[in-house]
């Protein structure tokens, strides 16, 4: 091309980034990469390599080790052994280490960006301008937390050894998202990168050495899913942090069930991108580009479902099409390329097959006329219109550059469509009416809401999902807390396993025991006392072994009914916090009027002394006050990401929460769990203590006189673990708190994988409910809420 021709056609021409330095680095590791364990490069026990390939041209970039069980064990041991020193160097020492990682990331920025582009296929613009700067930012931010930890979170401590498994879509960025908060909190890590994209983590390992990170604090083991599975199941790992697909997340939840390992999962999504007729349509089009054609659409929070208001849908789709014509697909190292290569042929095949299926189900496909390379692993930007909600491309995560378009008429319909998914990772709302946008943000069940922007990430802001998009947050204090535990919990874990509850006599009431109490407590569902579906009752014995009364023997249909009643009580979550506080105070007030009666009931059933019973009732009243007090004070935060704008971190209710009560302190333990759950706006399904359910059934009357709306609290008596299993299996139940045996705890965690409900189980450990340090506190509020981060950029003045 000569200058004259270029002048006449005004084309861009090639603008390749130089990759010489990285190629030299790869050449120097030609023999294959070892594992990074205890600050050294260690050959795997069994020499086995797999190739890392540049998806843009098929070139083999290097050979990476497949770590096996022995290697994982070695890495976990190294991490375990490094913990004491890592604790000893203190917050400031750890801050220095994290600061070094931040600085060195910046110093090696170009090399890291080029390597990432070569290995993953994403455009150099993105690795250079987004991935790598965001990595550095993450280490800076968490250097700050390391520094502040001792003064700001003195009641917390590190978890120990963290196993971390990351995906291939943001290889180095996910390394930082995992390592930075873990280290800031004082943990040591074993990290496994994705097998398609291990190289930047290995270059990062060299940076760790350069930064003087103490040996064993960061260990990097490469391998495939099998390696990951071995890390998950290693007995000496205290927590697993996983980012990847929902399917694998569910397997990990199963694998860790009952082990006591803390777990955070950041999984898939099918995030809505909602455009109202009063939006800046041109800016919204650029939003779409950033939402679905960023990183070839291989982004868990990609705005893959465009919901556009009918009044502007035609105009908006026309604008998208003309914008798509200017997207440049090609060599990811070219600085003028917008869309690079798909990470692997298998992923490309998946995209193609889902698109074909979507078309066969009625979607209309449109792709721009701009060229797409025919060699290498590329897929053109794709628009699918006339997508109905039943179409596979409306519900299934494609993880590719494919946008599914649907239209809506009203705000209400937009919200309904937005929430019509198993996922709940992110949503983007476009409207110039900020009142409207802020009204919608809390109504969308997703962990991240972007108003008039999209795909923004920052270390200061929590990132993570609702529903089957996982749980736990990365970034912000909410992310840091995922790598900490209250120091208190150590005491909890030492306490004895619950004593076996008194045997329940299952014989039907025959009226033979004189004097019997003619009382048959029903179930409490939807604000009404109702008979159990099965028509059976259970006899409840008093402390002397005589029948104290009958309770309904609830079954799965009663649980179903209770959940339906809870669904209808959704407005509880929208009630003001002041309103919820008032009701909790009122419950306490009404309990105080009847404290004598409850205390007698406790004596009768449990055989505890009158004084003990009186104390338990008084403690219950105080606990109600405690959560009434918190109801309007458990505020969120305003994060300050580096944009002109703010991010609101709101503590939101989880939704419908099951509570399975222990036998110990039957009234107080019930109140201690119920109060924080409803204070935060959740609806509860209670399975009372199997030994003393009459205390709880007596409580109906207090609920009824305290203006608790129907369906907010539902109580189903019956066989504890059987009913708990039904709750765990129920896909409409969002959270489940279980206090019971270790076997029951495992069962609950394993059974809750269906919809990835948030579980909080005691692993068989007893809790001293009458102690304020164990029986109440912020941890209960954290467990009753999830954090939603709402990004609000602003400005209308030049």
């Amino acid at each position: 091309m000569n200058v004259i021709e270029a002048f006449k056609n005004m084309s861009y021409g090639p603008a390749p980034e130089n990759s010489d330095l990285v190629m030299e680095w790869l050449e120097s590791h030609k023999k294959g990469f070892s594992l990074y364990i205890n600050g050294e490069w260690v050959k795997p026990a069994k020499t086995q390599f797999f190739k890392s390939i540049n998806p843009a041209n098929g070139q083999v970039l290097g050979k990476v080790s497949q770590a096996g069980e022995k290697d994982i064990d070695k890495a976990v041991k190294a991490a375990r052994n490094a913990l004491p020193l890592w604790a000893k160097i203190g917050g400031h020492g750890r801050a220095r280490c994290l600061y070094s990682l931040a600085r060195l990331t910046q110093k090696h920025a170009r090399k890291l960006a080029v390597l990432e582009t070569l290995d993953n296929g994403k455009p150099i613009r993105e690795t250079r301008d987004i991935d790598i700067p965001t990595v550095a930012r993450h280490y800076y931010y968490h250097a700050g937390w390391a520094q502040l930890l001792e003064s700001e979170l003195p009641d917390h401590e590190a978890l120990g050894v963290i196993g971390q498994i990351i995906p291939w879509n943001f290889p180095l960025l996910m390394t930082a998202w995992k390592i930075a908060p873990a280290l800031a909190a004082g943990n040591c890590v074993v990290l496994k990168p994705a097998e398609f994209t291990s190289l930047s983590a290995l270059m990062f390992a060299e940076i760790c050495t350069e930064a003087g990170i103490p040996p064993g604090v960061i260990n990097i083991v490469t391998g495939d899913g099998d390696t990951g599975s071995k890390l998950v199941s290693h007995p000496d790992v205290n927590k697993i942090a996983f980012t990847g697909s929902t399917d694998v997340g569910k397997i990990i939840k199963q694998q860790t069930a009952g082990t006591g390992k803390k777990l955070t999962l950041e999984l898939g999504g099918k995030s809505p991108f909602i455009v109202f007729s009063d939006a800046d349509l041109d800016s919204a089009v650029e939003g779409v580009v950033d939402a679905i054609w960023f990183n070839q659409g291989q982004v868990c929070c990609a705005g893959s479902r465009l919901l556009v208001q009918e009044a502007v849908s035609e105009q908006f789709i026309a604008k998208i099409k003309s914008r798509m014509e200017t997207l440049r697909v090609g060599d990811p190292l070219d600085k003028s390329v917008d869309i690079g290569a798909i990470v692997d042929q298998s992923q490309r095949d998946r995209i193609e097959s889902l698109v074909n299926q979507g078309v066969s189900e009625g979607a209309v496909l449109w792709q721009p006329s701009t060229p797409c390379p025919t060699s290498g692993c590329f897929y053109p930007p794709t628009l699918l219109t006339q997508v109905e909600t039943s179409n596979i491309v409306a519900s299934t995560e494609i993880f590719g550059p494919v946008l599914s378009v649907m239209t809506f008429r009203t705000q209400k319909e937009a919200i309904a469509l937005a929430n019509n998914t198993r996922y709940g990772l992110a949503a983007s709302i476009w409207s110039e009416n900020i009142s409207r946008a802020l009204d919608i943000a809390p109504q969308i069940k997703a962990g991240i809401i972007w108003i008039n922007t999209t795909n923004q990430f920052d270390a200061a802001c929590g990132f993570g999902g609702y529903k089957e998009s996982g749980f736990g947050r990365e970034g912000g204090i909410e992310g840091l807390l995922e790598y900490l535990k209250p120091k208190q919990n150590k005491a909890l874990e030492k306490a004895l396993i619950l004593p076996t509850a008194k045997t329940i006599t299952k014989k039907p009431k025959d009226g033979g025991d004189f004097p019997s109490i003619n009382q048959t407590a029903k179930l409490y569902i939807g604000g009404k006392q109702c008979r159990p579906d099965g028509g059976n009752s259970l006899s409840i014995l008093n402390a002397n072994g005589a029948v104290a009364g009958l309770v309904g023997d609830g079954n799965r249909k009663d649980i179903r009914n209770a959940v339906e009643a809870a669904v209808k009580a959704e407005s509880w979550g929208k009630a003001t916090a002041h309103n919820r506080a008032q009701i909790l105070y009122y419950i306490a007030e009404n309990l105080s009027y009847r404290s004598e009666e409850f205390s007698e009931r406790l004596c009768e059933l449990t055989g505890q002394t009158k004084k003990q019973s009186q104390t338990e009732v008084e403690d219950s009243i105080e606990r109600l006050f405690f959560y009434a007090a918190w109801a309007d004070k458990y505020d969120g935060a305003v994060h300050q990401p580096p944009i002109k704008g703010v991010t609101l971190a709101m503590n939101e209710a989880i939704g419908i929460v099951g509570i399975v009560c222990p036998d110990s302190n039957p009234l107080l333990s019930f109140i201690s769990m119920l109060a924080p759950v409803i204070a935060m706006g959740n609806r509860a399904i209670i399975i009372p203590s199997p030994a003393y359910p009459l205390v709880i059934t007596d409580f109906y009357q207090i609920l009824e006189t305290s203006d608790v709306p129907a369906g907010v609290v539902n109580i189903v008596t019956g066989e504890k673990d059987g009913l708990a299993k039904v709750l765990a299996d129920h896909n409409q139940v969002d959270g489940l708190w279980y206090h019971g045996s270790s076997i029951g705890s495992q069962m609950i965690e394993a059974a809750s994988t269906g919809n990835l409900k948030r579980t909080w189980v005691n692993h068989g450990f007893a809790r001293n409910w009458s102690s304020n340090s164990e029986g109440q506190g912020k941890e209960f509020l954290q467990q009753a809420t999830q954090v939603k981060n709402i990004w609000i950029p602003y400005g209308d003045s030049i």
């Binding site: 200058v3 009063d278 800016s283 400005g795 030049i798």
Partner: protein, 329 residues
């Protein structure tokens, strides 16, 4: 009046020049500009495209062809303006042009832009070059002169040989959101301009919001502007990529609504080759290749040319150039 350069080009492309439309309030009320969205697009676009080697040289030459080489100073004299015109006619050293192999382009700047009193001098100096003279007008830069004298100024400049008139709008009409008044004002200028090429300076730095920028742009186009232009160069803030993006999108919208194409001229503060390429990239991305020519796009600039000359020399020699190696503007 003779057919003007721009209009000839449009006719050649079988497109009518913009005759304007009736005042259409819906086209104003539908405008929604999200500033943070605009900032994001404007801020990232420059990193999404990169030009190297021959392409960079070609784009820089294109930039030169789009410059309205400008001198708007109280100190302007005929001597100074003659030098400006000579530079416009021969903007790049001959050996550079030859080494680039672009002699056949007969490269000149797009126009020369001066105050009314310098029009005659400039027209005389540019005789035979085909380079039009643009006159800033209508009480430039503040637009605070009586309407009568503003209109008269246009007529006088045209009579003196200006083929292009850069008018300024009354910012007060925008700040009071009196869009019909703005429309009437521009229409009056339009009819005073006759067949002359009318660029309307909306003075973005004094319009307070991007929404006002978009709305003022739309009103000016409805009233028959051939070009919309960002700034006088005298405001406290000059052209930038954000306001340019908003104005380009207004042009695109007007084109969708009417099929008429209106040109764009950012002015003030554009002084480096890198800046120039960013504007050209934005034009290509937002409006398309058919706007990448002096008929549809101009830079209002005085020092930009010097930096481009140095970059071109660097392209050829791989050695950084010095300003004294190029003819002074």
């Amino acid at each position: 009046m003779k057919a003007k350069k721009t209009k000839t080009a449009l006719k050649a492309a079988n497109e009518p020049y913009n005759p304007g439309t009736d005042f259409n309030p819906d086209w104003i009320s539908e405008i929604k500009i999200n500033q943070s969205g605009v900032e994001r697009r404007a801020g990232t676009l420059k990193n999404r495209r990169s030009l190297k080697k021959e392409w960079q040289a070609a784009w820089l030459l294109k930039a030169i062809s789009c410059i309205d080489l400008t001198s708007l100073s109280g100190e302007d004299t005929p001597g100074r303006i003659k030098r400006l015109c000579a530079k416009a006619a021969s903007p790049v050293r001959n050996d550079i042009i030859e080494d680039l192999g672009v002699s056949s382009l007969k490269l000149t700047t797009g126009a020369v832009c001066v105050y009314h009193v310098m029009v005659e001098t400039a027209v005389e100096a540019l005789k035979g070059t085909g380079i039009p003279v643009a006159a800033v007008s209508t009480g430039f830069p503040a637009c605070m002169a009586p309407l009568e004298t503003r209109l008269r100024e246009i007529e006088l400049s045209i009579a003196a040989g200006a083929e292009e008139i850069d008018i300024v709008i009354s910012r007060r009409n925008v700040l009071c959101e009196d869009w019909p008044a703005l429309y009437e004002e521009i229409q009056a200028y339009r009819s005073a301009c006759g067949d002359a090429h009318m660029k309307t300076i909306i003075s973005t730095g004094e319009l307070a919001t991007l929404n006002n920028v978009a709305k003022a742009s739309m009103v000016c186009m409805m009233a028959g502007a051939d070009f919309i232009k960002t700034s006088t160069g005298m405001e406290s803030s000059n052209a930038n990529l954000q306001v340019s993006l908003v104005m380009m999108r207004a042009i695109r919208r007007y084109n969708e609504l009417t099929a008429y194409r209106v040109g764009f001229k950012p002015a003030g503060g554009i002084s480096t080759a890198k800046d120039a390429i960013q504007y050209l990239v934005m034009i290509k991305e937002e409006l398309g290749d058919s706007w990448l020519n002096p008929e549809m796009f101009r830079f209002g600039a005085s020092s930009l040319l010097g930096d481009i000359e140095r970059q071109l020399e660097h392209h050829l020699t791989s050695c950084y150039s010095a300003s004294h190696r190029h003819a002074l503007v």
